[in-house]
Amino acid sequence: MRNKTRLSDILLNGFVYLATSLSVLALGLIFFYVFTEGKDLLSLDLIRGNYHSRNYVATLPQSSNDSFNLQPTEQTFAIERFGLILEQSENLAGDSVIRVVYVADDSPFSQLVLQETGNEVVSLKEGMIMMRIAYENHPTSLTSRGAAAMAADLNDPDRVVREVMFAQVGGGIRGSIITTVYLIGLTLMMALPLGVLSAIFFNEFAPRNMITKTMRTFTETLTGVPSIIFGLLGITVFVPLTIRITPASGSNLIAGAMTLAVILLPTIIRTTEEALKVVPADHRFASLALGANKTQTVFKVVLPQAIPGILTATFLGIGRIIGESAALIFVLGAAIKDSVNIYQPSTSLAVHIWAMMTDEPANVALSSTIAIIILMIVLVMNLSIKGVVSLMIKKGRA
């Protein structure tokens, strides 16, 4: 019999293709937007740098050497008298600044004396911003007059430097990256053993009765609970707990990791259980028939075969840790830190984005750059776990 409803088939197929294209387009657009907005700021300085800028006011020591041999490029300005090279540049906010490109090892600028204390030595480093240089009996060189003028002033042998003001630029995300790495490590350290062992209990040991069924339903329901509720749990339970048993005095990284561990548990239990389920019953029988007991069978035969599944769970977990922001704003705080301490508040990369976007005005460019970094981390994680799993399968170990 000939099928006559051709039009509806075409329509249905059309919807299928349309829906797929729209989803791919939406994902593609997000990537495209993030990359075009954020790629300009992506640099090692951003990743390594401090978030908080720091200004220094210092005086210049006496120097014997008064001529350095320097090779400036077209856009940079050499100061042979002090062994410095400067350039005209812009900061993360787009203001024009004078950046230090090179400081000679024996330049007097690498042994500046901090004015606050009068004896602490600080050195000017590449990448720092030169803000102001004051002289005895001469007008001060300022940022607004540009790098060329500042270099010319400094090279003038008549001028005696009285005071130097320079700054370590801020805006870097090193602290947030470190916090994120700590969070991943601490959370997995707590959630993986708990989750995997619980999954073993549910799949291998638990008797099939109402209590097991209820417990399983309960853990599965937790998967759908919004993370802000777990954040509430964190602030009411884990923060006071950590304040009691650790040196912490408020929101802190350990409490954040504990909260994330609770968020991850249902996913890890579920994924591990699925992995245990597909281990052939034959292997369990073979092991038991060889005189191995139940525990040996589970840990020596069944669990090793579930490792790819557990790795997948780990990956999903890491994605969740990196992406979580709502729960962490309470428990970990939203204060961006340069020196991270697990007993103190700090921000993960996702919360860093939140902080940037709630700034006035919102810093979309930097947020996009952080988003690129997050995407990179997730991509690398995904690829490496896939690599490990396929290697295991290739070797016939799973």
């Binding site: 099939r208 052939p280 034959d282 292997h283 029988f285 073979a286 092991s287 038991l288 028939a289 060889l290 005189g291 191995a292 007991n293 040996q296 020596k300 035969v301 090793p304 075969q305 070797k395 016939g396 170990r397 799973a398």
Partner: protein, 251 residues
């Protein structure tokens, strides 16, 4: 000679279904005993009673006695792990663990606490030689067992069982998943193994039972219809149902 296993009045139930009815059998040392019968007749269930693998099935209930060396191996206080060390098992489908060939064979001894590498090496070599697999795998013991062919995998499973130095080896249709050539090799191996071990084999193939076994038990609907020397059973069966089955009239 005293039988190594003596089963008396064995009844077995899965919930309400009675799978075995009043089974009484004697298994003799260093003989190959074949269990034949149509699907669902209880021969595999019977086999699994002998190393208590049925314990794993929920709702299983057992009455009667199974004497292993004169001891009540069916009693709840009997050392099941110890029983399984002495009564090894080879399954229908080859089921090597996804580990190296060496680790597969060494698995049993290792779980018993054997850690000495030299001892393990000797056990692995001896077991693989006895299972007629050594010549094929001696140069790749560290490779994954899952890369072996089906027949090799099954011989590896036999080697794995042998490594525990059992007295009895139970085989549950060990060749049903193999091609004729691999089947032939396993049959030759069984012939060889019966010098050192007592073998009980469940098989669907009448020819196989006739070729390799010394004694044959014919199961039907959970009962043993006839049990005797293989030659007698195949040449002149006492029971009409046995005759019908072995001449291929049903089953």
């Amino acid at each position: 000679m005293e039988p190594i296993i003596k089963v008396e009045n064995l009844d077995l139930y899965y919930d309400k279904f009675q799978a075995l009815k009043k089974i009484s059998l004697e298994i003799h040392q260093n003989k190959v005993t074949a269990l034949i019968g149509p699907s669902g007749c209880g021969k595999s269930t019977f086999l699994r009673c002998l190393n208590r693998m049925n314990d794993l099935i929920e709702g299983m209930r057992m009455d009667g006695t199974i004497l292993f060396h004169g001891e009540h191996s069916e009693s709840s206080t009997y050392d099941v792990i110890g029983l399984r060390k002495k009564v090894g098992m080879v399954f229908q489908r080859p089921n090597p663990f996804p580990m190296s060939i060496f680790d597969n064979v060494a698995f049993g001894p290792r779980q018993q606490g054997e850690k000495n590498k030299q001892v393990l090496k000797e056990i692995v070599e001896k077991s693989l030689k006895q299972a007629a697999l050594w010549d094929e795998v001696s140069d790749r013991l560290s490779e994954s067992a899952t890369k072996l062919s089906g027949g090799q995998q099954q011989r590896l499973c036999i080697a794995r069982a042998i490594a525990m130095e059992p007295e009895v080896i139970l085989m549950d249709e060990p060749t049903s998943a193999l091609d004729p050539l691999a089947t032939q090799r396993i049959e030759d191996l069984i012939e060889e193994l019966k010098k050192n071990y007592t073998i009980i084999i469940v098989t669907h193939s009448m020819q196989q039972a006739a070729r390799i076994s010394d004694k044959t038990a014919f199961f039907l609907m959970g009962e043993v219809i006839e049990y005797g020397s293989t030659a007698d059973i195949f040449a002149n069966p006492n029971d009409k149902r046995t005759e019908d089955y072995i001449t291929g009239r049903f089953g």
